[in-house]
Symmetry: C2
Amino acid sequence: MSESGKPARTVVDAASASARILDAAESLFYREGTRAVGVDAVVKQAGVNKMSLYRQFSSKDELLRQYLKRREAMFWGYFDGSVGQHPDDAAAALRQYFSDVTARATRDGYRGCPFVNVAAEYPEPDHFARRFVAEHKRQLLARLTALAAAAGARDPAALARALALLIEGLYTASQTYGTDSPVMAAVPQVADLLIAQALGRDPA
Amino acid sequence: MSESGKPARTVVDAASASARILDAAESLFYREGTRAVGVDAVVKQAGVNKMSLYRQFSSKDELLRQYLKRREAMFWGYFDGSVGQHPDDAAAALRQYFSDVTARATRDGYRGCPFVNVAAEYPEPDHFARRFVAEHKRQLLARLTALAAAAGARDPAALARALALLIEGLYTASQTYGTDSPVMAAVPQVADLLIAQALGRDPA
DNA sequence: TGTTGGTGTTACCGATCGGTAACATCGGCT
DNA sequence: AGCCGATGTTACCGATCGGTAACACCAACA
């Protein structure tokens, strides 16, 4: 549109630039991996300049930190959205979560748990991203244990550990066996079985 | 030791150079990731020159292919070593495998399933490494199904899917919850439970 | 009107990536 | 002895990595 040779400069205020950068980083980091995606790809997708990124985020590591925090919030939003449907029935809440997470993880293009992927990308166990993941999983196990206790499991910690393994298995199987594998479809049944067994009942 | 300024040239024949390169690549790729490790790191660890690598392997992708093939052979060596201990009792063979793989995966420094890690590193589902992983897991599921059938499971495919999920969960939990987590220690119990339930018996 | 602070743009930095050309040097062979 | 093929070494290629300096520009405010 501009007749001059000047490069169509578009001005974006800092707040919205920051949001656009985070949106771009989140989708790119999740879909392609945090190490594989460079800052140039992020700024291109966000439609901002590289200097705009480095004026909002001190480094790519800081961007990774924000990405992890957003994904953590998203995870607990999903989690609470599932278990909140059954405030008076912890067993049903657990089953609901497994049903919902399986539905999400079997969607085409699903790229697995972002925390699992990050753990795979950074070998050093004391890297801040690995610490973040470990802390997140610790909290998840605690929530599962509390729900298992509320459901009246004979050994809440044991049920929580079994369900934690199932969740990690679901995440990984989506990438190794494929989102459309029968292995994925089996998740809710296995969850039902583990829960029923821990409650001392025969599964249906 | 040499008094001249020349750089201590050491000659290695092609066959042993190839083996040393593969050894170095295998440990580095497994411990630090196939994308994170460059060919320079591989040749340095192998103690050979970069040109020696490229005269044996056409590209880094070819090196990755050989790495995957070696890891596949290693996996089936472990697997057959476990199930082979109970040629007349498929249920015991399955339990043995879960006991052994848990022992390996809880060792300090364990870095998870190499195929899972590769799947996490390459986002494109049709990348040759992803195809390799998918084929490997397909074969694993087939072996599990055959063992479940031999054990007399009411629904061999269902038991195999549940055990496949447990295996993926074990691999991933070792990296997210940590090799020393109680979650890892719970794997054999969960396997016993799934097997016993599928056989129609009460678990001990 | 002039100044000032934040924004966009360009160009660049050193490091590392996968990969290669050219040449020195060696061992085995005739 | 003389040759030749395979190996070791150096130096380099273009591309990309994360990150930055310098400057053009614009808006709000005095």
